[in-house]
Symmetry: C2
Subunit: 145 residues, 2 copies
């Protein structure tokens, strides 16, 4: 059901302020930035080996990430697990008594389909299931700006 | 300098209580449990693809994980990045002005050498550098008990 850690989502006030650490200091140069309007966030997808770090910056005061930043400050927001069959995974988890935030997949960053497991079913960790389309892993661009 | 996400460390009150979710519900069967006395924690290392999830349970009230649980409750504690040359990575990061908690590596779970970057230098995320010995990736046992 689960193939690996797809990404770790990190809530930040400013992508530009934090990106220097990942790009210049750690040398992770493969970065793609996009808007996810539905969630009212800008996302910087930083490729790191076969996984990614996603920096999540709110674009509105009522964004879920804005509320997270108010309560907790900057830091890790969610853990995303890679699956090749998100519909099957959701169905299996519901059968096993897991409380899902999303019982049908929705669109995530980078052309993914995602569904969140409620932290109460996952030891306090907001856990995401994440399925890539057939091409999304190839679409990450090297950005030097 | 960085090869990927080595693991995500999750603070838990009881490994046994949380392990069911990872093992039975998510089907992640490769689990190894060990004591890290220096940090006063028990660690369940759960293999997930090429990465790991580490469940961290305090073994004493003055354990760093006990203090984290008091302040934040159960949840993600640190993000560990894989490096093949931890001494070189520390040296490079210090040169680049990063505030290190550990300027020399110490022993982590699973025979690793680890060094923490201060969250103030990493956008609020307690970030670990983690180098495996030549054999530790092969030592993970399947445990069914």
């Amino acid at each position: 059901m689960i193939q690996g850690i797809d990404h770790v989502g990190i809530a930040v006030r400013s992508i530009e302020a934090q990106l220097e650490f990942y790009r210049q200091t750690l040398g992770l140069q493969q970065v793609q930035i996009e808007l996810v309007n539905e969630q009212r966030v800008r996302v910087a997808i930083i490729q790191i080996g076969d996984s990614r770090i996603e920096l999540l910056e709110p674009t509105a005061d009522d964004s879920p990430i804005a509320r997270f930043l108010e309560r907790h400050g900057e830091g890790m927001h969610h853990l995303a697990l890679a699956t090749e069959d998100i519909d099957g995974a959701i169905s299996t988890l519901v059968d096993r008594g897991v409380r899902m935030i999303d019982t049908t997949p929705r669109c995530g960053a980078g052309g993914t389909q995602i569904a969140f497991i409620h932290p109460k079913s996952a030891g306090g960790v907001l856990t995401e299931l994440c399925q890539h389309g057939s091409q999304t892993r190839l679409e990450v661009q090297t950005s030097e700006d």
